[in-house]
Symmetry: C2
Subunit: 248 residues, 2 copies
C-alpha cells in the first residue's frame, strides 16, 4: 500500500462545498495533471471548459438538477474534441472524413474520461472535494449552448471541485467475483441470489447513514434504475450525431 | 506537489516488459482500486476481463498489432457492461429497454474508462510499467470471441501491465492555452500558426529520442492521422449496435 492507492481506496463523492475559491496555482496544477494523462495515438483529442462564474454554474446546476453544482468553486467540463484536429488537418489541406466515424468519437471520449479521473484523483490528493457530473448529459443542447461548443466536440463528463463541507462514509462496492473475470467473461445463473450478501451490506450501509436514510438494496436500485428515463437524455445519440460525430 | 501529483505528471507508456509475473496480491490490489472508482448512479456498469495465458495474450497482440502486448504479465480489458444489470432487473420482472439507449452505453463506457485510469495510476505507483491498448478496437468481433462477451457488453479499453524494461522520456504535451478554456470553448483563427512553438518542441523531442527516431511535428502527426483507416476498426458503430447497445 502507498499514498496513491490508499487515496484511491478511500474515494468518496462530495456534494456539499464551502463557499471558498480554489487558488489559481491549484487550478494550474490540475490542468497540468490533465495534460499529462495518457492519450490515444498522442492526438490529445479532448479539451476542458472550466466554469467559475455564478451565472454559468447556476445554469449548469439546473441542467444537472443538482443544486450543489452551483456551490462548487470550479466545474471542469471534459469535452471529447476532434474540432481542433480537424482545423489543423484542414489548414494543411488534408481531408478529414475519418473524424466523423464513431471510432474517432470513442478515442476522443476515452481521452476526455481518462483525463477526468486523473484530475479527480489529483484534487482528492489535495484534500479537495469532488463529484463527477454525468448529469450534464441531461440536456446536451443546453450544455452545447452554455459552453459554445463547435462541431466535432461533445461534453462527456463534468467534475465539480471545491473545499469539502461533509465527510460521507465509504460506499460498499460489488464483490470482486461479480466484476473481475479471468481469461473470459463469466455469466451466472442467478444474479439476485449471487448478490444476496452484497445486498445486505448495501442495505446496512443506507440504514446507518445519518441523513436522508434510504433503505435500499443494490439489486433493487439496479431494478428501479430501469425506470429512470429523462426524455432529453435519451436523445444523446442524435445529439452526438448533430455535432458531426458518429455519422458512420 | 505531493506523491500522487508527482506520479501523474511523470506518466509514460511502457512498451517493453520483463519476463516476470505480477504476484497475486498486487493484482488483488489493482482490482480493489478499480472497484473503488467513482461510478455513475452507483450502478457499477463495467467489468474487467484479465488475460494472463500465453495463448490469449498472443491472440490479443495480433488484434492490437503490437507484439509487446503478448510480453506483458497481465492484460486488463475494461468492458462497458449492462449485461449484469439487465439480468438483475429481468430476474425481478422489470423491463429493461432503456439499457439499449445510447445513454446507458455512455454511462457504462464512462465507468469502464474511469476505472481503467485509476488502475493505471495504481500500477504506476507500484513502479510497474503500463500501456493503454486502444488498439483492442481494431477488431471488435475477434475481441468479443476471445473474451466470450455476451450482449450489452463491449470491450472499450485494454491496459497491459508488467515489470518495465525501458525508461522512455516524458513526451511534451499541448500547451494549456490550446486545451483549457474558461467559461466557454475557444476557437482560434489559425491552429498551425498557434502551434508553431509546440511543433518545434515535439520535433526536438523526437530528434533527441534514442531509438526509432521519427522527426515529426505535432500538427504533421495530426494531419497524417487522418489517413489511418483500419477497415474493421471503422465498423465500431455497428459492432457496438450488434451487442444490443445504442439501438436508439
Amino acid at each position: 500500500m502507498n499514498e496513491v492507492i490508499n487515496l484511491q481506496l478511500n474515494h468518496k463523492s462530495i456534494r456539499k462545498f464551502k463557499d471558498e475559491k480554489l487558488p489559481q496555482d491549484i487550478v494550474e496544477t490540475l490542468v497540468d495533471v490533465a495534460r499529462h494523462t495518457a492519450t490515444s495515438n498522442f492526438m490529445q483529442s479532448y479539451s476542458i471548459v472550466c466554469l467559475t462564474s455564478k451565472e454559468k454554474k447556476a445554469k449548469l446546476a439546473t441542467i444537472c438538477n443538482q443544486p450543489y453544482v452551483a456551490e462548487a468553486s470550479h466545474v471542469f467540463i471534459f469535452v471529447a474534441d476532434q474540432y481542433r484536429n480537424k482545423q489543423i488537418a484542414t489548414e494543411n489541406n488534408q481531408e478529414t472524413t475519418v473524424l466523423h466515424n464513431m471510432d474517432r468519437y470513442m478515442v476522443a471520449m476515452t481521452d476526455a474520461i481518462l483525463a477526468a479521473q486523473n484530475v479527480n484523483l489529483a484534487a482528492e490528493s489535495l484534500d479537495l472535494g469532488t463529484v463527477f457530473l454525468g448529469s450534464i448529459l441531461n440536456d446536451n443542447e443546453a450544455v452545447k449552448e452554455l459552453l459554445e461548443l463547435p462541431e466535432l466536440t461533445f461534453a462527456v463528463l463534468g467534475l465539480a471541485i471545491g473545499y469539502k463541507d461533509q465527510e460521507p462514509q465509504l460506499k460498499p462496492r460489488l464483490p470482486k467475483e461479480m466484476m473481475f473475470f479471468e481469461e473470459r467473461y463469466q455469466t451466472f445463473d442467478n444474479y439476485v441470489d449471487k448478490l444476496k450478501e452484497y445486498d445486505d451490506v448495501v442495505t446496512t450501509y443506507y440504514d446507518l447513514r445519518d441523513a436522508n436514510t434510504r433503505i435500499d438494496s443494490f439489486t433493487h436500485q439496479i431494478t428501479q434504475g430501469m425506470n429512470r428515463k429523462p426524455v432529453k437524455r435519451l436523445r444523446v445519440k442524435s445529439d452526438i450525431e448533430n455535432q458531426g460525430f458518429m455519422t458512420e
